[in-house]
Symmetry: D2
Subunit: 321 residues, 4 copies
């Protein structure tokens, strides 16, 4: 964004007015050295165009049109899941058996969840790791959710599974590693259902919004943005949870936002405080890994909450209602 | 940390028990291919050594001693400022005049602050930017604080100013850019006062704790760790606020922690939600840039809160009491 | 890796010997405080196990088995493209027309390339950007390559296009955004051809090698690792070229490695020096965007080299022969 | 930078012309939706202002003045050390004794170095680590250098040591951790000598140039920029060597540049290939840690080169002459 100046503008006064509105600016000078425009830095607070154009000394405001009009159009949308904010989506990393799915659904429901998460298809860094029970697990997940009156959120890993997942899920999840898998975004969007779009490991907010635009262009229902931590450099946490991005998405872009503190921290001891922080930053809810017996989990056991740990989470959510 | 196994250990069972305790492990094998130890990854939940050593199949636990015993010894310490948690430290980026300092102190006190912040010596990326009024400003800051019954937190930029700053400040601040300026840490520590130690732009938590150890070794009072965002890659926020590190410092290391959401976001519109998130993550309080007239500020005006914006902050703090 | 110590070991002497071999270590102590092991940090130089086990005072070396045995087994493999090192793979970002493909192939061949690159299917951050001419472009690319006796390297974006791409390409490319698109890796691997695997935006070297393991497990021919810059924080270069990773892959893992300096820098003025640097670091060759008329390019024109700029590149490659 | 358009401009043609010159641009529109300007992205190739202003359809070019005029004014300066490019500065991490300094100087000289490096004052992450022999070591370093006809480069850690270091050093080094220690920059600059300025762990190129501007403003002789790796996320290399920044500094800013591959990789096995890569990217020389007996080194032994390893380095340097 560029604020152009009238020839007679008092530049210092315009800069002060913009500073007062929360805008960081840099002066641009023409060939003669005259200050002609003020470049607005991207980490500025939003301001109404009419307000800016009405400032004494301002000639006009030049802007690039938003690259994601469909995302902008869903501003103010709610997360398309039952229950009021803050929402809890909970469940195991992997769906391991009908029994485990039922036990996890019972845990989730008891903790106040309105939706069950769980992976039938699992992305795994190693080709030798357990990658889910696939289509069978989709059925177990749906049955467990129905038995406890929960909606289902589950990940699609490949284009050829979109139909199968869409047949059981209320919300289709696209994982971090696929945030810019455009073939998958197109296929998932075409299913016409709401989508939970996790942020890529090093995606800027604009890249993330544009991935949402891909989904909406392809026909998706509401796109819910889910922060789960970006690649950091500190070994004591698994990822670096970016709640500034969450605040930005909610307060500046007014998008539906969930946060996954389980993957962000990778540490069971930090899941509840980070869930509380996410809600305070503006998230509409949290998505949490829970397991009836974390020691027996086939993936992500160390970060899963058990029944005891869920008590603190439930109390946190209650405090935000 | 390494968990060594008895020759007859059921390795899978030991791994399950550790997973149940929140520990991520990797098997280490000896020359004959036998599993002899389980390396514990650094993003594991803390566990009592006695618990680990008592697990069936576990022979011993081998560890590196903590590299920061003095920091560990202050676990549980309170932030050495008046008032109960959550604390509010507020004030202008730069101390610009006696009048501005008084107006800012009045604002801070009205918002519930118990300490006044403000820079007499300012680190500036450019040598041509305003870098503070120096020793004179220290006097203005102290007088303004005294008039409103506030403590003073202010930054020391150079070894030769330690005495002057220590003469007026209740807590000496070491800035991000000086977190590993060991000559300064030694000089500041020798003043024997509490220190607010901001995290370096790309410092790991361990490097930060070790900088605290430098201060304590040199004689500092309580070291308070202050997160202010690390270097990120997204241009829409000025820095990347790492509340996972805050949760870690508070819940795992039990250190006194403040958070500076003003520098983290660099955006006035996100300061209050990020302050709320910081408290939820476990911070003992927040340090906020406020200015009676942000448009007139000589530095950081766009991120400073004015009287109107402070109302929301005060409400947030009240909700946490 | 952990080096265990004999009860009578002179720990300082063992540490000195390891330091002499280029290993960074940390002492681990047992419940009684005795030093029992030396943890080897991952940024250590490689050392023969037999050498380590033969050091006075060393009891054994405990290790995790390599997680990527198939990648390890291709150590020493050449890049499966015609011509000797250093290789040049060159061509346009997008295949725009039969004429453009021919002109680009002529440029590439004249510059010394033995393979033509060019996108028929293009990943685009925005859904509104040109995303390639698809299947038609594959034919144009093959014809242009054949006319100049060049091999073809081109990207596969979706599982449903693997067969079509495999029918024309000598080497299938998996892009950065799909490095952990495991469904695609499986489908591409099943085609049984060599694969050029670009590094993900924030992938560790181990995650990258494991993505190669996914390909090899699925049946791929030689996997060639291609560094193209990771997400950085400096706006003056588009990405941060990690030649340390290139040196590591070549000198420690002995893998076939190409480097893409065009995407790394995003700047035409830096492509040639970074190509030279890549070869010096150990790359087997470079992959470069060229265009007969960069001003007319439908994507990445500003970073494409034209005929004039290719002269310097050719000279650089000659100097390395 | 902003390129403003004439009312009758053919915007597509202007964009094509800029693309042809290597510029990435984004269209800015006024209140009526008309394209009025093209914002130039910072990762564009440099272009002469006169060329841009002469393009059909271009009205003017608006720019922010360079924030570092004194750095710009030293464009084209040579590294102020004896000998021609490529330069080798070599020596131990710490100066440990007169004997070690002499042996290291002999090694360095034999390898073709014209300057000896070595720390008398050492920054150490832990307060319990060896931090150098201080003033005594300065004398040992000078004597060893003189005996082998070498210049001396050594680090200043604190303001109070500037005079002592300036008395023996030909070039004063400011370390990464102090790149934005403005009190030290001022004191070091005031000594009026050339300065080797290492890049901060997460400093942008502009912040680094501005730190150089601080030095020059304070009176420094030539400022030499030294890249030594930024904070990365991969544990197999100690830091992430940014040769894109080196190419940028040399080819776009025309500054004197050295590279320190020893700290970048932290791995002895990668020092020589990364030194070669640095020279190919445009560096004027390299600064390397060497030690007569790395196993006995009191700091950084695992990354130091010994006599045998130096042979390959010398050959690399010869190839660049």
């Amino acid at each position: 964004m560029l604020i152009t100046l009238r020839p007679d503008a008092d530049v210092v006064a315009v800069e002060a007015a913009l500073k007062g509105l929360g805008l960081w600016t840099t002066r641009l000078r023409d060939a003669d050295g005259a200050a002609r425009g003020l470049r607005v830095e991207p980490h500025s607070a939003p301001a109404a165009l009419a307000t800016l154009r009405a400032l004494p000394g301002v000639a006009d405001v030049w802007r690039a049109p938003s690259p994601h009009p469909r995302v902008d159009a869903q501003a103010g949308a709610a997360v398309p899941l039952p229950g009021g904010a803050p929402l809890l989506v909970a469940g195991p990393c992997s769906v391991e058996s009908p029994e485990q799915a039922h036990a996890a659904a019972a845990l989730a429901a008891a903790a106040g969840a309105t939706a069950l998460r769980g992976g039938a298809f699992k992305p795994r860094t190693s080709p030798y790791a357990f990658d889910g029970h696939g289509r069978a697990a989709l059925g177990w997940l749906r049955a467990a959710a129905d038995a406890h009156d929960l909606a289902v959120v589950t990940e699609v890993l490949g284009e050829q599974h979109v139909d199968a997942v869409a047949a059981v899920a209320d919300v289709l999840q696209v994982g971090s590693r696929n945030m810019q898998n455009f073939a998958l975004l197109r296929a998932v969007g075409a299913a016409g259902k709401p989508v939970l779009l996790k942020r890529g490991m090093a995606a800027t907010v604009e890249e993330w919004l544009l991935a949402g635009e891909h989904l909406l262009t392809a026909g998706a229902g509401t796109v819910v943005f889910c922060e789960r931590g970006v690649r950091g450099f500190d070994p004591e946490t698994r990822n670096l949870l970016d709640l500034g991005a969450v605040a930005l998405l909610k307060h500046a872009y007014r998008q539906p936002v969930l946060v996954d503190p389980s993957h962000a921290a990778g540490r069971r001891d930090l899941v509840v405080p980070l869930a509380a922080a996410a809600l305070a930053a503006g998230a509409d809810g949290v998505i949490i890994e829970v397991h009836p017996d974390p020691g027996a989990a086939r993936s992500d056991g160390p970060q899963a909450l058990d029944a005891a740990a869920l008590v603190a989470l439930t109390a946190t959510l209650e405090a935000h209602r």
